[in-house]
Structures are given as structure tokens and as C-alpha cells.
Amino acid sequence: MEKCQVRNNIRKFRFFQNEMTQEQLAEKVGVTRQTIIAIESAKYAPSLELAFRIALVFGVPLEEVFSYTSEDEPA
């Protein structure tokens, strides 16, 4: 089975939301700050529900925040 990765633009969207902190985002989506840190650094792929909640906070479609890349494909 090939290794896949869920990439994200959370850092960029936090910046566009007046430099929203990780803590603020965590509170809005109902998880811990550590989970947001893990998602941002691509150490954890969130569930579909959490991914939708994060996209909803930024007011953008899911595919603008998260993208799916297999390891063989160029990023």
C-alpha cells in the first residue's frame, strides 16, 4: 500500500483571519491546541468531520484547506 499524506493550508488561513492563534482555532472546532499543531505539521490527518469544521471556521470549501497527495506524486 502506498503512503499518502493529507496536506493543509491552515497556517495560511490563520494568517488571513487576523493571525488567529492555534488556541482560538482549537476552541472554535472543539479540539485541543496540540491537535491543531499536529494537523498543521502534517503529523495527524483529521477526521472528515473535523476537517469540515476547520474549513467552516475559515469560511472556505474543504478542498482549499486540505489536499490529498500520494507520496509518488509531486506536491
Binding site: 485541543t32 491537535t35 499536529a38 505539521s41 503529523k43 495527524y44 473535523l50
Partner: protein, 150 residues
């Protein structure tokens, strides 16, 4: 450091203390002329109750101390957010799986003592030991997953 991580470290320390207590007592019994069933049964009871008690008390104390420390840091008496989110649950599940695998290996090794002609007391003592070691392995696995990522 998150409250979950601190909880796991507290659990790990308490399991290590129980392990040391168990091994020291078993060693002393062996020095005094082998395992005596009445003493061994008492030791098992103490160890099992200690693990349950330390887990519960450790969790409660951790939350209380964390709340106090954060209230002092922030200067607000707000209710602390002790959220267990999907990542925490996933890591806990993986830790439990590691514990089960470790315990299964321990059970197999315990059964092998029959093959080499050891009495049942040795087998059951090894079972309890593998239970404690399985808890420790599970804790270490959780710590590793928190550091490395899921």
C-alpha cells in the same frame, strides 16, 4: 504539555512504582525459601488494587494540580478545558492495542513455565508481571505516538 500527556506520564510512573514493589516482594519471598501461596495471593491483591487506586487518584490529582497551576498562571478562575478529542482517543486505542499484544505475549511466556516443570504459582506470578509490563508498554507507546504523531 497537554493534560493527556501529563496523565500518561503519571500513569507510567505509578505503574513503574507498582512494578518495583512487586519485583522486590517476589525477590524477598524467593530469598526466604520460595513462593508461599498465602503471601503470593496477598501480594497479587495488593498489586491489583494499587494499580486501580493509583490510576484513579493519579488522574484526579493531575486535573486538580493542573487547574490550580493554570489558574495561577493566567490569574483567572476559569473552568479549565480538559478536552479529550479524536486524536487523544485514537492514540489511547493504539496504546490499548499495544498493551493487549504485550499481555498476550506475556501469557504465552507464562504458559511455557509449565513446559519446564514450574509450579502454577510461578505461572500466575508471571501473569501478573506481564499485566504490569503490558500497562507500561501501552503508556510508552502512547507517549511515543504523541511525540511522533499518529
Amino acid at each position: 504539555m497537554s493534560s493527556q500527556l501529563i496523565n500518561i506520564i503519571v500513569g507510567l510512573v505509578s505503574h513503574l512504582l507498582v512494578l518495583v514493589y512487586y519485583l522486590v516482594n517476589l525477590y524477598q519471598m524467593n530469598q526466604e525459601g520460595g513462593l508461599v501461596s498465602s503471601k503470593v495471593f496477598t501480594l497479587w491483591a495488593i498489586v491489583i488494587v494499587a494499580i486501580i487506586f493509583l490510576n484513579i487518584v493519579g488522574n484526579i490529582l493531575t486535573y486538580i494540580v493542573l487547574s490550580i497551576v493554570r489558574a495561577i498562571k493566567t490569574g483567572k478562575a476559569e473552568e479549565e478545558r480538559f478536552i479529550v478529542d479524536e486524536r487523544d482517543k485514537l492514540i489511547e486505542l493504539k496504546g490499548v492495542r499495544v498493551s493487549y499484544i504485550s499481555f498476550s505475549i506475556g501469557v504465552l511466556i507464562s504458559m511455557l513455565t509449565f513446559v519446564i516443570g514450574q509450579p502454577p504459582l510461578v505461572m500466575f506470578s508471571l501473569l501478573i508481571l506481564s499485566g504490569i509490563l503490558a500497562e507500561i508498554t501501552g503508556d510508552i507507546a502512547q507517549l511515543y505516538l504523541y511525540r511522533r504523531g499518529v
